[in-house]
């Protein structure tokens, strides 16, 4: 096991390298460049070809792609992701500025989803084919089918305009800092309610069905039948055996959930003016702000690699039958 872990950790570096190469290539495939778009902020700018090429040169965009890649790589080796083409601020600063906003939403949403989805899924599995199972499932699919932007707008209209009890925009009120310590955090909390709700309701369906599926797997096992035959109390069976074993496949979800934590929902961040990483990334893509795009992609890649390793290790730890050669 230890050997395996060490091997995996060593493999991180070449994999990361490979990911950055592939990402760099794909990112440069899309047509257009940032100079053009800075140009096009005003749709009538007349930039002479000399000035255009000067700009390209300034940004280092006229070098061939492998030169650009190695320049970037050299800088990244010193943890310098460069400066954004849009506002010339360091990429790291821009990301750090926005990461907490996204993390807050995502972490809370994940916790709430898990807290709700696991019991839901378990209960559906235990009462398979019952009315709860079928109707509950249907209700969840209904939730899943509703487009995010529509639900968000509906909630905004209802709670923000009609009832006026919840804020509908931004992370905090304008002069929140003058509200004092408790006032400030209450203000932040209240601003989070609608975005978190919108973020959570959709993933409930998938998560709970997933838990249901893996619970069913567990329930079928012989040892559950044995436990029942032994006359064990149903509750004990559920908590001691079913619940814990159900969590094992959920651990594979970790490998996908952790990277999702740092990726923001572009729609919701746009609708709620939530200054998160999703919004940053999307605007960077549209503006071909390569430093920001590469910076975010690299950080995401690191998180992906670490979380897949973590998921694999946790899986092996949880299920003693699992070994990696």
């Amino acid at each position: 096991m230890l050997n395996y872990t060490i091997r995996r950790l060593l493999l991180l570096i070449p994999t990361l390298f490979g990911i950055t190469v592939v990402t760099f290539i794909i990112v440069n495939l899309a047509p257009g460049d940032p100079v053009e778009l800075i140009n096009r902020g005003e749709m009538d700018a007349r930039i002479s070809p000399a000035a255009y090429h000067q700009m390209l040169h300034l940004y280092g965009l006229d070098d061939p792609i492998h030169v650009r890649y190695f320049t970037w790589l050299k800088r990244v080796a010193t943890l310098d992701f460069g400066t954004s083409f849009l506002d010339h601020r360091p990429v790291t600063q821009k990301i750090i500025e926005r990461l907490p906003a996204t993390l807050t939403l995502n972490v809370w949403s994940l916790l709430i989803s898990l807290v709700l989805a696991i019991p839901l899924g378990l209960y559906s599995a235990l009462r398979q084919h019952s009315r709860f199972d079928k109707l509950g499932g249907t209700a969840l699919y209904l939730l899943y089918s509703l487009p995010e932007f529509w639900v968000a707008l509906l909630l905004i209209m209802f709670f923000g305009v009609k009832l006026k009890i919840l804020p509908i925009n931004g992370m905090q009120s304008i002069d929140a800092r003058t509200l004092g310590f408790w006032g400030y955090w209450w203000d932040r909390f209240v601003h989070m309610i609608l975005p978190i709700f919108c973020l959570t309701y959709g993933s409930l369906a998938f998560l709970s069905r997933f838990v249901r599926g893996s619970s069913l797997e567990v329930i079928r096992q012989d040892y559950i039948r044995t436990a029942r035959a032994k006359g064990l109390d149903e509750t004990r069976i559920v908590y001691t055996h079913v619940f814990r074993n159900t969590l094992i496949p959920v651990l594979t979800l970790l490998g996908l959930l952790l990277p999702a934590l740092i990726s923001g929902s572009i729609i919701l961040e746009s609708i709620f003016s939530w200054p998160g990483v999703g919004n940053l990334f999307f605007n960077a893509v549209l503006a071909r702000d390569y430093p920001v795009v590469m910076g975010l992609s690299t950080i995401t890649a690191v998180v992906v690699l670490i979380s897949t390793l973590l998921a694999d290790l946790l899986y092996a730890w949880a299920d003693p039958r699992v070994t990696y050669r």
């Binding site: 994999t15 794909i26 990112v27 235990l126 249907t138 795009v293 992906v304």
Partner: protein
């Protein structure tokens, strides 16, 4: 599971030669068991209906008549737009005709489809009308009938979902199975491949594809398919890693079954649970991705109707609730049907299930 092991015992380990018949047997067993699951069958029926509807769309909603008489001949313009016929039945004399004028002309049009509107013919006088007798689901911002657009969009949405998910399933299962089963070098290499694809910049890929290739729907499906298989691969790999340590695998190996047999006939059916859930949501998720892409203008090009496209109009005209509710219902029906089907498949193929409705 006992069944397949017993079958192997009976055949004396000659699993290979009777593979085909046994696979047919397994499929038939699964099918028989599914038939008793009413919900799964309901899902299947709904999906079949959706396919039928998309095939029959030209005769259900069209501004061309089903039967018309033109210059003494009897023509079937609506029928001629249906899939098998449109390749060999052509009516060049009708190509410049304005069907809007002919719609209600009794001497020419003998039978109009039940919804006499085309999904792409604009009608600026009837923009954004609420659902009423004429337009059951209202009209969009160019006056097109929403029901017609959703109907014709069914084919596209189903195709996007199925093809994209199909591609993901095939690639994902294959890679996940190999990585999980063989372990070692194969696992190392394939897992790294999975990680690299997870980190693909999807948005840029789409932008590049849209910019360089003709923007047809198949390119989009393929892009969605080849970037979304990683989830399935991860689940499949985890399941294979877990299941290869189970007794039945050892038993099968002891009986001399080949690796491929073990993978596909023994482990795979047991590993489907998380994969199926992912796949069934994947179909609906593909539709929603298509919506986002179409909203950005990167998806299906106008004026082709798609559910995602109608939702995109809804985003612009948010007071027109009918532009959101009806596609939402359509997506909901599709998601539910696919999930019921998927769950039914999973339950029916689960070798351990003692199938009784509301069993504990």
């Amino acid at each position: 599971m006992m069944q397949s092991v017993q079958a192997d015992l009976r055949a004396g380990g000659q699993a290979d030669s009777n593979d085909a018949s046994r696979r047919r047997g397994f499929a038939r067993i699964v099918w028989k068991r599914m038939q008793r699951d009413y919900f799964a069958m309901a899902g299947l029926v709904v999906i079949a209906t959706l396919f039928a509807a998309s095939w029959l769309a030209p005769v259900i909603a069209n501004n061309r008549p089903i039967i018309m008489s033109w210059e003494g001949r009897t023509l079937f313009p609506a029928v001629a737009q249906m899939v098998p016929f449109k390749f060999f039945v052509k009516y060049p004399q009708l190509s410049t005709l304005d069907f809007e004028d002919l719609k209600y002309d009794e001497s020419v049009a003998l039978m109009m489809p039940p919804v006499p509107y085309s999904p792409i013919a604009t009608s600026l006088d009837h923009r954004l009308e609420r659902p009423d007798q004429r337009h059951w689901m209202g009209t969009d911002e160019l006056g097109r009938d929403v029901f017609a657009r959703l109907l014709y969009g069914t084919g596209i949405s189903l195709k996007v979902g199925l093809v994209a998910t199909g591609i993901s399933l095939v690639i994902g299962l294959f890679i996940g199975a190999l990585a999980g089963y063989y372990g070692g070098i194969a696992d190392i290499v394939l897992s790294r491949l999975i990680e690299i694809v997870i980190c693909f910049p999807f948005l840029f890929l789409i932008l590049a594809v849209i910019a360089f290739l003709p923007p047809n729907i198949y390119n989009i499906m393929i892009v969605i398919g080849i970037t979304r298989w990683t989830e399935i691969a991860r689940y499949a790999r985890a399941e294979f890693v877990r299941l290869k340590a189970h007794e039945f695998t050892e038993a099968a190996r002891a009986l001399g079954a080949r690796d491929m047999t073990i993978i596909f006939r023994h482990i795979l059916p047991n590993s489907l649970a998380p994969v199926l859930v992912t796949a069934t949501f994947g179909v609906a998720s593909a539709v929603l991705i298509e919506n986002s892409l179409t909203f950005l203008g990167l998806g299906i090009q106008p004026p082709a109707p798609s559910w995602g496209g109608v939702l995109a109009s809804a985003r612009e005209q948010d007071f027109a609730w009918w532009l959101t509710i009806f596609p939402g219902i359509a997506i909901f029906v599709t998601v539910t049907a696919y999930n019921l089907l998927g769950e039914g498949l999973r339950d029916a193929s689960d070798p351990r299930a003692t199938f009784r409705p509301s069993s504990r």
